[in-house]
Symmetry: C2
Subunit: 477 residues, 2 copies
């Protein structure tokens, strides 16, 4: 027997993106069902942002205190690894979603647990754990917020060694003795930083010539140097050829293209080599779409060619970050409500219904030491885009606030200036504890605040934010 229900909006996937779409449409007066096969709250709450930052924060706080002569004398002990793991568990609510399910109910959203598949126009069929089926019909819209999942590259034997994905790396209950990390992107770098500080002997294998390939080059260089300083074996230009288990050991074969292949042995291997859309097996073919890859959406996150269908968050591949998923959820939610009520939907840049920041102002922080905080275009991306621009750089350690913050502070600030409009296209900060500096750049970039006005945005002395003044002075020459 199939239960049949009708809602204004059916949201598939109850990660932070889906939760926010459902919340916005309900606040807008529509009814909504929210479907989830795993934990309500999704990747970020249980297997990404929250646990990874909880694993890193203690290390970061200790480094900050050790870096200040006078304070360093107080740091005579070691981090309590069990306490840090317990703290991580508390931030994931020990992987229970009771609190989030309660929030969903309180928000007036109907939670439907099970696996969802589209079944033709405006219909979603949910199969519960017990095999029961619920057929959800959507009057106005279906929002697919199924997110992304770790991609395991097609390396011989790699799947068979049962590698960690970011999920296992963030939720591990014990510190691995030797950890081999495949991939030097932000997940690989953060997990190498975290587990190394907690006692693992870590090797990072990055195929390219640099860590953090999408960031300004100075970022990857600084993080590589710091990881090496912390005892991590960072190998660049390292192509993984195969993997196998020998007893409890994992053996990874690596080639740097020149010499003979080398074997690296570990107790665990983490594959942090990119993500892919979770679009397989959700019935896309029943509505005339190809059943794989990222969803192709317009600026209001509406799937092109299917006006009642939205693809919001990681699933559209525009910007695979929790905060961008939530942002898209607000914009798409507003568009869904407006269209349902017959209101105008302004599709021009920066309107309340479009996700313009996805292309112009995506912020991200890599919580390594040094941290890497960036928004908008890097110099390389600006060059690719063909926009007229100039790159302005300033050593963050030359700012009084930085040297007060940590002895011998080293860091870099880079601004990419649109020379035609004299606004910022992008900003990157590399250095210890720069995470909270970033939002100033986000406001400047997303706000398209002219440089002439930024001279009036005076940084408080002596904070690290004074680097803004130095960047402007460097720009002026």
């Amino acid at each position: 027997m199939t239960d049949e229900r009708t809602y204004d909006v059916v949201v598939v996937g109850a990660g932070s993106t889906g939760e926010n779409v459902a919340d916005i449409v309900v606040r807008g007066g529509l009814s909504a069902a929210l479907v989830e096969a795993e934990l309500v709250g999704g990747e970020c709450s249980y297997w990404a942002c929250m646990p990874s930052k909880a694993l890193l924060r203690g290390t970061e706080a200790i480094a900050a205190a050790r870096g200040v002569s006078g304070a360093s004398a107080a740091v005579t002990g070691e981090q309590d690894v069990q306490a840090t793991l317990a703290r991580r568990d508390s931030f994931t609510s020990s992987w229970s979603d009771d609190g989030q399910a309660q929030w969903v109910a309180g928000a007036g959203i109907d939670l439907v647990r099970g696996s969802a598949r589209l079944d033709g126009e405006r219909v979603v069929v949910v199969t519960g754990a017990d095999g029961t089926e619920t057929r959800l019909a959507a009057t106005h819209a279906v929002a697919l917020c199924t997110g992304s999942e770790a991609a395991v590259p097609p390396v011989e034997g790699l799947r068979d060694v049962d590698p960690w994905t970011p999920r296992e790396a963030t939720s591990a209950k014990e510190v691995p003795g030797r950890l081999v990390v495949i991939g030097g992107g932000y997940v690989g770098c953060e997990m190498a930083t975290a587990w190394s500080a907690l006692g693992s002997t870590v090797t990072v294998l990055e195929r390219g010539e640099r860590l953090l390939a999408n960031a300004e080059p100075v970022a990857g260089d600084a993080v590589a140097a710091a990881l090496r300083g912390a005892g991590v074996d960072v190998r660049l230009g390292a192509a993984v050829q195969s993997a196998r288990r020998e007893g409890t050991e994992v053996v990874v074969t690596v080639s740097d293209g020149d010499g003979p292949a080398e074997e690296i042995r570990g107790d665990q291997v983490l594959v942090a080599a990119g993500r892919r859309a979770r679009t397989h097996d959700i019935g896309l073919e029943t509505v005339g779409l190809e059943g794989r890859g990222y969803l192709d959406v317009d600026e209001s996150l509406q799937v092109r060619g299917v006006p009642w269908l939205y693809g919001v968050g990681d699933v559209n591949g525009r910007a695979l970050l929790t905060h961008m998923g939530k942002y898209q959820a607000r914009q798409a939610g507003a568009a869904i409500v407006a269209r349902a009520t017959g209101a105008d939907v302004d599709l021009s840049a920066w309107s309340p219904f479009v996700a313009t920041a996805d292309t112009e102002a995506v912020p991200s922080v890599v919580f390594t030491d040094p941290q890497v905080a960036s928004v908008g275009l890097t110099a390389a991306r600006a060059a690719e885009s063909g926009r007229p621009h100039r790159v302005v750089e300033y050593p963050l350690g030359n700012v009084a606030g930085s040297s007060l913050h940590r002895d011998g502070y080293e860091g870099t600030a880079i601004a990419v200036v649109d020379t035609e409009r004299e606004v910022l296209l992008g900003v990157t900060f590399v250095g210890p504890d720069v995470a909270e500096l970033l939002h100033s750049a986000v406001v400047a970039v997303a706000g398209e605040v002219p440089l002439a006005r930024l001279w009036h945005a005076v940084p408080a002395y002596p904070t690290m934010s004074e680097v803004w003044l130095r960047l402007l002075e460097t720009w002026r020459g």
Copy 2:
């Protein structure tokens, strides 16, 4: 015999403000003399911002590490007080201005050491330590950047006990056993925080009903609670009636208006009860101005009625903060250069020649624990101004980034919104380590970024900056 020289511009006072005026006009192609009677670099470098933050940073870093379960286990020792004092000394270059004098020379500015007095139109007479006189004639402008000094209130006996002013409090070579602080403004609160953490038994006497009277009320309340938690005796509504010495002790008599006066004994007393302009004894009367009080200047920092004379920095009383003095220096310097070269000087708001931020966007950070970081109008000032506004408040501890940062994080974010223009009039953050969050608010306020656009300025997750999203959601309701 008097040495006579002529410059395009004569700058009186080589604190950071005067240094910046001289630098800007020299970069603009003018010649400049810079006169200083004390240390080149001024108050901020030797007796204010730099040493006070150096005294506080170790305490702050230790508190941050102690506040993270897991990390706290590593903090088993105590701060090394001597190392902290030595670190403070290094940030003041042990009160030597060699480095700064070298910078001045390198910038092409002529440094003239001695006490300066105006001597009629466009003339400054400098008396050196050896009694020699130098007569400096200015072709275009004289900029008075003499700053401010600690005011000692007219309390019976107070001057006679030889109290600390902020200068002595920031440069002390030893930790006082018992320190009595008169004044609960930002200097009193910072010095109470610093010296208490370094071992002093501290009493704070504040005449008003709250610490940090100019900030949002929640700020003073939070700082008072924290100081008390750290063992500081904070007395509000405490009027100091008299002071006297008894042997090595200082005895301060205090009344709370109700009961009998009480005697408080200490080893040292710090008077942190406001500042006054350093305008006495600089010859203002020779150019037809009254010889005391803050200089009355226009938006380009030109003294009203005396077109060749500028009053820049603390001396004009507009915003007594190092970074605002430097800002004014940039704006006034640009105006001086423009006027000297016959260029147009646009006096409209936010032009390169006016200090609009002095009234619209003054940022300040109080480096207590919790820190208080604010820009623009408080709710109270907005009400006084008569501008249509609404106050939006959000508990900073509810943000994921804050609870990751410190266990049990407590804090508050307050935004004052102009309901007519839908831009921010002011923002205050109260909480541990909020200093670097401030510049995002400075850019938003000085940039007059509309709230509609701020929705597109996405905070990176999970940083404390996510509070921006919560403030916007609270505003929307």
